[in-house]
């Protein structure tokens, strides 16, 4: 029976080229059939519909060797459909895909892989309990003469590649799940190269990365490009297009709205095309807001601590105020918000709401006290994915809308609340009973915001409210946030998006390594670069630590399942990961 299984594998493995090499090839060196700039893959007139929705219509786009081709577009513009078609997950209804000039059907993910297509998703798709080495080689392992897994050979190839990608080879001995997301992405890139990928798709890779990790990723992408790989780069972030892209294709409502072949890119034009209508200019000077607080504080936080996430954090917020927490990913902001919301238990510190102690031991208690929290991870912690839009909106207020004696949920109330939020938040939906999964990411986020707006809250914490959301919806969110504050709510916004912080904040607190390191009033006097500098000082130390590790002066150790880089010079300086 075992032998049967092996035979099944054999066919695939022998089809894979370069199985005997030991990693001496340069990254992306697979693209030898054509020179830099030569077209590698082309989509010609590709269309795809889901029911009555046209996800892609008549899309033409060419990906060339040695070029970084960016795809920009609103949520729901068809970017994910495009990736899925390239990766063989979906089949186009019309049109064709050409690879090296000849029409090619990509019938399955395995076929895409055989063509040399690879994708690195925002949330890395990994095997958390397998080793890093096993993750890299699972689909095409090195084999000894007897057909056994040849781990030493795999290790040699992977190590050579890791060194070229400037990734610590010590990671090879870890389990994948222990690595932080940035490292997981780098492992997946190494995997793509081992599998001889010629076209690598990056789907919003930086939204979960810190500044240093982003810089490292960009260096890797540059190397891949000079190695001759065709890169497809999907991002919402305009500054990244400037930094990395050779050309930009704008998708709007499933159509190619425009293509930009050379830098510098006209960002205003791209935004205009993305939105499909005229919008305000990107990167306009931050609007000046009221300076400082007015009135007595609604919430006072003193000495809040939960190591290793945050330590001795003290702040206050008033009614009618928008307080922004700016910082890099992993600065401890999310954990602090969760502790406030009763989802994590802090080890020290006090919280007072309107002068009275507030110690929420569960989200339920926090909500009762008038605190709402819009989570960072919408899919895992925000939506009830299989439920209708209306059910998602009324989820937390069910107790308020039941009939007095019979205790059934009054449909009319559900309807009213849904309609009011639909209008207030301009949620585009087929109907209140449509599943929330039918909405785009931005639409889903609006629904969750709507859920909190039907609550009678005093304080609303929004954790990265516009991450992965298109430009237009983002602007709407900013307006809504300002409006909520004007109506007397205290709003705390956690954001890693500097323009957003300047857009909505009255006051800005910068967190770094679990501590508040700076405070700014957003009255036009705070220079953005200073705010940024305060937040990324970590990254300078981080870079130093990484250098120390490379020189053998530091070690990555495992503390309670959390990987920590300890440079030998300063054992107290820990880079906390695992987030």
């Amino acid at each position: 029976m075992a032998a049967e299984g092996h035979r099944g594998e054999g066919g695939e493995l022998t089809a894979r080229p370069g199985a005997d090499e030991t990693g001496t090839r340069p990254p992306g060196g697979g693209g030898t059939a054509g020179g830099v700039g030569a077209p590698f893959a082309r989509l010609v007139g590709v269309s795809k519909s889901f029911g009555s929705t046209r996800a892609l219509s008549d899309v033409d786009v060419t990906f060339a060797r040695g070029r970084v081709h960016a795809i920009a577009g609103e949520n729901g513009a068809g970017k994910s459909t495009l990736i899925k078609i390239l990766m063989g997950v979906l089949q186009p209804d019309h049109g064709r895909i050409e690879v090296d000039g000849s029409p090619t059907a990509i019938a399955s993910p395995a076929a895409a892989r055989a063509l040399g297509f690879a994708a690195v998703f925002q949330e890395p798709l990994v095997y958390p309990h397998l080793g890093v080495l096993e993750n890299i080689f699972v689909a095409g392992p090195e084999r000894s003469r007897l057909g056994d897994l040849d781990r030493p050979a795999m290790r040699r190839r992977a190590a050579a590649l890791f060194e070229q990608l400037e990734v610590d080879t010590a990671l090879l001995d870890r389990r994948m799940g222990e690595l932080r997301l940035g490292h997981q992405q780098l492992v997946l890139i190494a995997k793509a190269l081992i599998e001889d990928a010629k076209l690598i798709i990056f789907d919003e890779p930086t939204s979960i990365l810190s500044g240093a990790e982003t810089a490292q990723l960009f260096r890797v992408i540059q190397r891949l490009r000079s190695g001759g790989s065709a890169i497809v780069y999907i991002s919402h972030r305009f500054e990244e297009l400037e930094a990395i892209a050779d050309s930009v294709t704008v998708l709007t409502d499933g159509r190619v709205a425009g293509a930009f072949e050379a830098r510098p890119f006209d960002l205003d034009a791209i935004v205009r095309l993305m939105s499909g209508r005229e919008t305000r200019g990107y990167g306009a000077a931050p609007a000046a807001h009221r300076a400082g607080t007015t009135g007595p504080p609604l919430l006072e936080v003193e000495g809040f601590t939960l190591r290793p996430y945050f330590e001795d954090v003290s702040w206050r917020v008033s009614r009618g105020e928008v307080l922004c927490f700016y910082g890099q990913v992993g600065a401890g902001r999310t954990e602090m918000a969760k502790a406030l919301f009763g989802d994590l238990r802090p080890t020290a510190g006090t919280v007072r709401m309107e002068g009275k102690p507030l110690a929420a031991r569960s989200p339920r208690q926090a909500i009762r006290a008038g605190v709402g929290y819009l989570p960072e991870d919408r899919k895992a912690e925000g939506i009830f994915a299989t439920q209708a839009i209306s059910e998602n909106i009324v989820a937390t207020v069910l107790g308020r809308i039941v009939a007095r004696l019979a205790r059934y949920v009054r449909r009319s109330e559900v309807r009213n609340l849904t309609d009011s939020q639909r209008e207030a938040l301009q949620i585009k939906m087929a109907g209140p009973s449509a599943p929330i999964s039918s909405l785009s990411g931005g639409g889903q986020q609006k629904v969750i915001l709507g859920r909190w707006m039907v609550e009678r809250l005093k304080l609303l914490v929004l954790d990265e409210p516009t991450r992965g959301i298109d430009v237009m919806t983002k602007a709407q969110f900013h307006e809504i946030i300002r409006q909520l504050a004007e109506e007397g709510l205290a709003v705390v916004v956690i954001s890693s998006d500097l323009p957003e912080v300047f857009e909505v904040a009255d006051r800005i607190l910068v967190m770094r390594r679990g501590r508040i390191v700076a405070e700014f009033a957003n009255d036009g006097t705070a220079p953005p670069e200073e705010v940024l500098r305060q937040a990324v000082a970590l990254d300078q130390a981080d870079a130093g630590a990484r250098g120390a590790s490379a020189n053998g002066n530091g070690t990555i150790v495992d503390v309670g399942g959390v990987s920590v880089l300890v440079p030998s010079g300063d054992p107290e300086e820990k880079e906390v990961t695992g987030q």
Binding site: R113, A119, L125, V138, L149, G560
Partner: protein, 343 residues
């Protein structure tokens, strides 16, 4: 002023207390099989000092090792099935079907070796049915195998027609029970050999890596183009075949086929796998764990008999061991992945 940081009940951050963190860390680091072997040794020592002669007596010892062999052989397959993220609760009634079929074949005076082959083919067939429905029907494995459990049981009753089969040739009992190396029955040696073969396959062959990958992250495995359905079909068919071997051993052990033959056997085998460290969430588990788990489960049962404990309590202990095994598996996963698994 309210002190927010007093009690630390379950569900809080793993790093909030250094002591609990250290314990969890150790749980995550030390090889689980090492602990298990330790527990088995301690139990053997305790049994030696309390009921020594009864435990080490060759009748008790060979009986125990035969029981272990009967559990271990299908536990290998069960481990692989659970590693892929599945479960099979039908194997007890599959033992019944195989037992009846070989019983009827013996009654029909078919050649001895042919009967054994028929039994194994029937077992693989049952496993293929389970695997095919899981892989292509996209029905959750627990439901599929609950369904086939009932179907297999009905087939057994129908074939048996209310009569017991007792015409089992002594040859079978001879090779299953009586042929021994010292006190060690050949059956046990066969089980150990199978454990060795499948340990090697899981650790060193590409198919092993793919089985782990399938259970660890099915979505990643699918997008990586791994043949998930063939892998599922393979592990359930393998379990079916190994279950048939266990059925042959069972019939050899007690040469009588009854409607209740094989009943509740799946519980023991699942217990062996999860006590052996196979994570019910998929992606983790070792074949050797199935052997150690079977040893522990059967030693506990043996001890209960030697201490004259009511069989009622044996069932309770077995159930408790399954729950504890699963709980430890989940706790280890948390310990290893730290805060991430917590959220």
């Amino acid at each position: 002023m309210t002190d927010i940081g007093i009690a630390l009940p379950k569900g809080v951050s793993p790093d909030s207390s250094p002591a609990s963190s250290r314990v969890r860390h150790m749980l995550g680091r030390i090889e689980y099989e090492g602990y298990l072997a330790g527990v088995i040794v301690v139990m053997a020592i305790v049994l030696t000092f309390t009921v020594g002669s009864a435990f080490w007596g060759s009748t008790n010892l060979s009986g125990l090792l035969l029981d272990v062999a009967i559990d271990t052989v299908p536990a290998i397959g069960m481990t692989l099935v659970i590693v892929t993220g599945g479960i099979d609760v039908s194997i007890g009634s599959l033992v019944g079907v195989v037992a009846v079929v070989i019983g009827l074949s013996f009654e029909a005076h078919l050649p001895f070796v042919l009967v054994l082959l028929i039994g194994i083919v029937v077992g693989i067939g049952g496993g293929l049915v389970n695997g095919a429905i899981v892989a292509w029907g996209r029905v959750p494995p627990i439901i599929v195998t609950l369904g086939t459990l009932s179907v297999f049981e009905a087939i057994t009753y129908q074939l048996l027609g209310g009569v017991w089969i007792s015409t089992i040739p002594a040859e079978l009992t001879q090779i299953v029970v009586l042929d021994r190396l010292g006190p060690v029955p050949y059956s046990f040696i066969v089980a150990v050999a199978l454990v060795a073969v499948f340990s090697y396959i899981m650790a060193r062959r590409p198919i092993g890596l793919k089985i782990y990958a399938t259970g660890d992250n099915p979505e990643a495995a699918r997008t990586a183009g791994l043949p998930i359905r063939r892998i599922q079909l393979f592990v359930y068919a393998l379990l079916g075949g190994l279950t048939a071997i266990a059925a042959l051993m069972t019939v050899g052990q007690s040469p009588l086929v009854m409607p209740t033959t094989g009943q509740d056997f799946e519980l023991t085998v699942i217990a062996a796998a999860v006590v052996g460290g196979t994570n019910i969430l998929g992606g983790e588990g070792k074949v050797i764990g199935g052997l150690l788990g079977a040893l522990l489960v059967e030693m506990v049962e043996d001890a209960a008999i030697l201490y004259h404990v009511n069989s009622f309590y044996q069932q309770i202990v077995l159930g408790a061991m399954i729950v504890a095994g699963v709980a430890i598996g989940v706790a280890r996963r948390r310990a290893r992945l730290g805060a991430k698994a917590e959220r």
